[in-house]
Structure formats: C-alpha cells, structure tokens
C-alpha cells in the first residue's frame, strides 16, 4: 500500500476504525456470495459523517477504489472487495435517528438492520414493509443498494417504493440530499436511480423510510396441486379474480419434502406443488377474500385447500417456506440458486420447460419461488465431486436464465448483478444500453472509483449466464432463512 495513502487514511480515522492487518481483513474478503473472495487493501469503519467524507476524499485523491459494505449478506458479490481498493463499512452507522409516527416515517442510519426498524416502531402499530429473507441481519443501506424485495412485493413493492429520502456522499465527499419527507421532490427522480445502483453511484449515509400501518389481520391459505403447471395456472386465476395477495409463494414436491423433513410445517408431502397465499387487511375484508380465494383455488384444480387455523399454524406454514433453501441444502451436496423473473403468464410454461431440462441434464431441480411476482428461485441440485455434474448444472442454469429473458423477464429479480451475473447481464442488455449505464455512472463518479467493475459489465465481456454456487449444502450465513 502507498505509505502516503495509508498515512492520509490514518489521519482521517480513529485508530480502531482502520483495519490493515491481514487477519483483521480476512472477515471482509467476501459477502453472502462466498464463492468469490478477495482481501482488500484496508477496511475503514467510520463512525461519523466527517470521517466517511474524509475517507472518500483521501481515496479520490489517491485514486483508490471504494467498495461500500453494509451487513455483507448480499448474494451477488456486490460487496466483494477489490485487491487495490478499500472497504468502506457502514456498520457503525447504526442509529435510528427519528421516528415520526404522524408522518409515518423513520430516519435511520444505513447500518441499521432491516428488521430493527419494524421492531422499533412495532409499539406504534407500524412496520417497514420490504422483508428480504435475511432481514434479521441485512442492513437498510444494503437494501437501498440492492433494491431488496421479499415475499410481499406484489402488494407492498420493493425498497424503491418504500423510501422517501436519502443522504448520499459522492466520491468527492460532498453530501447530497435526495428526496424529501414529502411524497415527491423537485427535479429528476434520483431517489429511484440511487436505489438498486449497487454502490456504484454514491455512498448512502442516511435513509428515510416509509412506515405502514400493520394490517388488522393476516391469514394464510395453503393449496395442494397434482401438477406444477396447474399450480402455476392457479396463480393467474387468483390475480384474474381481482385478489391481490400480500404474499403468493410456490414450492414443488422436492422442496415440500425437504422443508417438511427440516421444519415439520405440516405440508402435504404427496402434493406435486403447493401454493401459500397470504391475505391481509381489514378483518372483514380478509374473511370475504378467503372465501373467494378458496373457491378460485378449488376451481383451478387444487386437490386440497387449508386455511391456517391460528397464528401458530400461519407462522408454521411460513417457516417451511422460509426454511426451504437450507432444507434443500440437506438433501444435496451442492446446489445452484437462480434468481430470474418472468411475466407470470409464462409460469406454467417455464416450469414445464424447467422440468424437461431437468430430465435432459439428468439433474434434479427444486422450485421455490415468489409466484405472485414471477420471481423464480430454481435450485439445481448436483454433486461437485461427480465428474461433469458441475458443468451440467452450469449449463442447466444458463438455459433457465436464457428462458427467463426469452419470455420477457430478467436475469435477476432481487439478488442483483454484483459480480455474479455480469455475464448474464451482457445477454440481457444491448451495447447501447450498457453504454448508457456507463454514462450515468460517469455522471456520478467520473473517475470510476465507486465499486468499479460491478453491476454493469464492460462491453468487452462475453455473455454467459450467472448463478449462485453453494457448496456442501451450506449457504453463507446458514442461520439466515433464505427465500
């Protein structure tokens, strides 16, 4: 490391906020995508805005890349360090600054955990809606960077729909106020542009989120089907009937059995597929909708329809779904998790095609996904110790993401491009579109120092599909539910 750069960092930060020893850097070598590892030059852990500004100015001066990091739970390698760069950890920006119940908003620092916001406002009957599966650990700053989703996106939207304002530092250390506590703000919608920009445009140092009133009642209906195509078609029937579920999830037989063995959720293990449909809102309305929903499901060919008898059973139904990834990890040495989104109308067709591909490649696939918004997480099961299985799993995954793009969908619904899907992004965007993204990046960060090389592939990069490689059935952060 350039001694002048190191000395400048030392002047910018208290001694305990700068890590440079190899053993201290090691925990930062990867995020939730542990297949990619790289030790950074240094890790900066500022505690104040001034310290963060000083770090950025030093990096700008010495032309050193900066990778922002929240809780490090991301699944696409967005917080993967660069060998010649520093990690700017926002972990110590962990305070809730303001809760305004009247205006239904909370102003928080980026290192605050997603779930901590809802916990802090629960006594007011309020909550923060986006609920990525890692919500007990992931930070709100990381949620902004990834535009995180969850199981309630169809009704309540993604992170971008639940923000009011951001404070952002530019690479020059300049503080920008983006958005207002009002419902809109003058000028371009830079709030939308910042959300999901994967740390390439600026460093988020404060987030104002919208809070919602907790629904009077939430209820879950579980429906069993004897084919995945029928279950997929039932999803369209529910939406067509004018029902807008808070959550609508689907699991196929392999995932049902794995989850049942793991969590004992009470799932019908003989079903080929199940749908979990959550309805929420006013008590009387939920009651009416459950009746309508049951009728639609039976009419759509459900072999069994169960309404959770009480809150405990509702949570149990969800526990099986939330534990599905680790559950599948118990039945296969390795698996790839895909994250494509497709227009819902193609659900039955895409599922049918995935089944055919599964036979063709001779590899099992467990389908676990957000059926309501078409966000698929097919898990391709394989054994890396068997010759050729890894290669076949990769080819299978490539075909699935291609299929998603072919039917008008996208290669990433919620995990982000990061480093993992750079090749897949090449196949989704034209050179002109990628050039436009690079021009926008340059408008914010002309020297290209903020998380360079992530999220938007260079024009030179060839197209191949992306995947999340999970070895030994172990996801990074195995204690976190993944869905």
């Amino acid at each position: 490391m350039n001694p002048a750069f190191l000395s400048a960092l030392r002047t910018s930060l208290p001694a305990n906020a700068l890590l440079i020893e190899p053993e201290a850097l090691r925990p930062y070598e990867c995020d939730g995508l542990s297949a990619y590892r790289q030790v950074p030059l240094a890790v900066c852990l500022p505690e104040t805005l001034e310290q963060a500004q000083a770090v950025l100015r030093v990096c700008r001066q010495y032309n050193v890349p900066v990778v922002a990091r929240g809780a490090g739970t991301g699944l696409s390698g967005g917080a993967l360090p660069l060998a010649n760069g520093v990690i700017l950890s926002l972990a110590r920006f962990n305070r809730i600054l303001e809760i305004d119940a009247e205006n239904r908003l909370a102003r928080v620092q980026p290192g605050v955990r997603n779930l901590a916001i809802s916990e802090a406002v629960a006594h007011l009957g309020l909550y923060y809606a986006p609920d990525p599966s890692s919500q007990i650990a992931c930070s709100i700053g990381g949620n902004v960077a990834e535009n995180s989703g969850g199981v309630h996106c169809l009704k309540y939207g993604l992170t971008v729909h639940n923000l009011l304002a951001l404070k952002v530092l530019t690479i020059d250390g300049e503080l920008l106020d983006i958005g207002l506590q009002a419902l809109d703000s003058p000028g371009y919608d830079l709030l939308a542009l910042m959300t999901g920009s994967e740390g390439l445009l600026g460093i988020v140092v404060e987030v104002t989120v919208k809070l919602l009133v907790k629904p009077e009642r939430a209820q879950v209906v579980l429906a069993a089907f004897d084919s995945v195509e029928t279950a997929g078609a039932a999803v369209a029937r529910i939406i067509g009937a004018g029902i807008l579920p808070a959550g609508l999830e689907m699991m196929d037989n392999l995932s049902i059995r794995a989850a049942e063995d793991f969590v004992h959720a009470g799932y019908p293990v003989d079903a080929t597929a199940i749908l979990l449909c959550e309805l929420d809102g006013l008590n009387a309305e939920v009651s009416e909708q459950i009746l309508a929903l049951r009728a639609v499901l039976l009419d759509a060919g459900a072999t069994e329809v169960r309404t959770a008898e009480d809150e405990a059973q509702r949570l149990k139904f969800w526990a099986g779904r939330k534990g599905a990834f680790p559950a599948v990890g118990r039945i296969s040495p390795d698996y790839y998790c895909m994250d494509g989104t497709i227009p819902r109308q193609h659900l039955a067709r895409v599922l049918g095609r995935i089944g055919e591909l599964s036979a063709q490649y001779g590899l099992r696939v467990a389908n676990v996904f957000h059926a309501g918004d078409g966000n698929l997480h097919p898990l391709i099961l394989f054994d890396a110790n068997q010759p050729d299985e890894l290669h076949r799993a990769e080819a299978f995954g490539t075909d699935i993401l291609k299929l998603c793009v072919e039917v008008g969908g996208t290669v990433t619904g919620e995990h982000g491009i990061g480093v993992e899907k750079l090749d897949a992004a090449c196949s989704q965007f034209t050179p002109e579109e990628l050039s436009q993204f690079h021009a926008i990046k340059a408008a914010f960060d002309p020297a290209g120092l903020l998380n360079p090389g992530k999220a938007v592939p260079t024009l030179h990069r060839c197209a191949e599909m992306g995947r999340m490689h999970v070895h030994g059935g172990a996801l990074p952060f195995p204690e976190l539910p993944r869905f």
């Binding site: 993604l158 983006i178 371009y188 029937r237 939406i239 966000n375 008008g408």
Partner: protein
C-alpha cells in the same frame, strides 16, 4: 418508413445539428413547466397498446396512446391505473402522463406514476433505442432509468413505449362528505382519497361492501357524488377557476397549516395542497421549505418563470451531468424543467 424509424431519424438529425426539439404528445399539459420554443417533435401518432394480459397486472403501450384508451381497456377488465392520473384534456397521452409524472387522488394509498412504471423503451439524445426495466414487478438488472423518466418532462429522452403496473378495481367505493369541525381519526379506515375545500371535507372509501358499511357507520358523514374526485383531479372544481397563480405544494402529510395568504384546497391527507394566491414565489418557497416540502408554480405563470422549486447548487450540477449522460447534445425540451437543463 415506420413512425418509430422517423422519430429516430429526426432525433439523429437534431443531434448532429445541435438543433433542439420540443417533444409534443397530446398537448394536454403544455401549460405545465417552463415554455419550450424549439421545433416540435410530434409523437402522438406513435400509439397503440402493445401488450395487456390482465392476470399479469401490467399494461404496455406506445407513448402516444391516448390515456383514455388505456383506461378504457383496463376498465373493461375491472382494473385501473392505481395512481389515477389527471388528463387535463381528451388528448392526454400515456407518454405525457409519465413525462409529467402527475398523480391523482388515490396517490397516497395506491402509489404514484413513478411507483407503477416498470419499464420504458426510450430514444436517447444519441438516437439510440434503449429498452430499460421490463414488464415484471421485480427486476434489479441495470440502473432504474425507467423511473428517472417520470416527471423529467421529456428532458432526458423520447419515450417510445411504457409498461406500468395496474391493479384490480376495488370491489366497492363510497364518497362521504363531512361538515366543518368533524375530524374523526382515519387510522384503520379503508380511505382511498381525501379532499378539503370550502370548509367541507370529502373522503372516499374503497373496500368490500361490508367493510365500507362498517367504516361508514363509524365515520358518519353524508353520502356525496363520486364526481368530486374527477373534478378535483381534472381541476374543474370552482376553486381552480381563478385568475391568481396556482401553486402545487407538496409537504409531509402532517405538516402544520401553511398560513399563507390565499385560498387552499388540500388533498392526499395533507400531503398535497393547492394554493391560489399572489404572494411572491420566494415567500411561498421559503415557508414551504421550512415545513419540509417544495412548491411548484402550477398555473398562471408566463412560461419563463421558475416553475419548479430551485435545486441546491450541488444537486443542480448533478442534474446537469445526468442530463448530459442521456442527452449529450442538449436537444430535448431545453429549459422545460429548469433553465439549466
């Protein structure tokens, strides 16, 4: 030659000659924003619904499609644009709706235009056609350039096609009117619109019929004509028949009263307030900024005025660089949003 090819050619020519263009759809919101005086680029001929599958909750249409046509197609399937956009004329287009970014009475409960936009097909200032975003709810590939178009008043590119999320219509709706002084708590009520004008307070409830009965019993009030919401949205209420400058003031919903001279109409549970008054712009903007909001000179200006709330220098500089990234030759709607863009 297709109209799209023609538009691409016009833009490429304009870019090479550095000759600015004013993008014109149906002209329904020509009054909104600062004046644009360059050559016109007519896009209203580029029309037609491209894809609409009701169970998908998404509609995709060419930007010149009449807004009325979109809404009729949705209504035929018992669906709606959740943000209830104003038309301001029968000629309003789908693309103009996005460029203006204006939402109607349902906005605080149903979301805004920008919330609903999922993807665009965009012609940038280099004459490149870009497909950004998509037709799906969840999509985090690439920067969210689609939503950046909302409210940009055409200063960043020519919209060719737009995809937006739609919602099922509520099973039932009821409008109630309350006398002055009646202020019951609305928490837990299925409210979907609010309006305060001339000392009267209107609410719209949207839910199942049984829920509406229960809520109406609790709230009291008198039934009123639902036409009030169209009249508020289209600004045909008597309040809007004024020769005075009309300000749109966006505030945190619970912000205290403006206490500015003039008459007021309050929507969005307090988050959108219309002020008809002659106070100097600076006085209004100072007061509004203190309350955490911003003020737009909506109607009654001479085209050259500072229509939109001024941006701090660092934000303005960033806006200029973003504009440059999409429209490097500065050909689209110069000055329509801010003189510097």
């Amino acid at each position: 030659m297709s109209l799209e090819t023609e538009l691409i050619d016009r833009v490429k020519q304009a870019a090479s000659r550095r000759a600015p263009l004013c993008i014109v759809g149906g002209g329904s919101k020509a009054f909104y924003g600062r004046a644009c005086t360059s050559d016109r680029l007519e896009v209203s001929g580029h029309r037609g619904i491209v894809a609409y599958e009701p169970t998908e909750l998404v509609i995709s249409a060419r930007a010149g499609t009449p807004l009325a046509e979109i809404e009729a197609a949705l209504a035929a399937n018992n669906q709606m644009l959740p943000f209830e956009p104003p038309h301001f004329s029968e000629h309003a287009t789908f693309g103009g709706m996005v460029a203006a970014g204006l939402s109607g009475p349902r906005r605080p409960w149903g979301g805004s235009v920008r919330d609903a936009v999922l993807g665009v097909k965009l012609l940038n200032g280099r004459g490149d056609v870009l497909r950004l975003g998509g037709q799906v709810m969840k999509n985090v590939a690439g920067y969210d350039v689609s939503r950046l178009m909302v409210g940009a008043l055409g200063t960043l590119g020519v919209l060719l096609e737009v995809s937006v999320k739609v919602l099922p219509r509520p099973a039932c709706e009821r409008t109630l009117v309350f006398d002055p002084g009646v202020d019951k708590p609305l928490s837990g009520m299925p409210v979907s619109a609010s309006l305060q004008v001339d000392g009267r307070r209107y609410l719209r409830l949207s839910a199942s019929s049984r829920c509406i009965e229960m809520a109406a019993d609790q709230l009291g009030g008198e039934p009123a004509d639902a036409a009030i919401w169209t009249a508020a949205r289209e600004q045909t209420l008597p309040f809007f028949r004024t020769a005075l400058p009309l300000w749109r003031i966006s505030l945190p919903a619970a912000a205290p009263a403006l206490n500015l001279p003039g008459s007021e109409l309050i929507e969005w549970a307090g988050a959108q307030r219309w002020l008809a008054g002659e106070l100097p712009a600076q006085a209004i903007r100072q007061r509004v900024a203190v309350l955490g909001g911003h003020a737009t000179l909506f109607r009654g200006h001479a085209g050259a005025a500072a229509v939109f709330h001024p941006l701090p220098p660092a934000m303005l500089a960033l806006h200029q660089r973003v504009k440059q990234a999409l429209d490097p030759h500065g050909i689209f709607n110069p000055g329509r949003l801010y003189p510097e863009l």
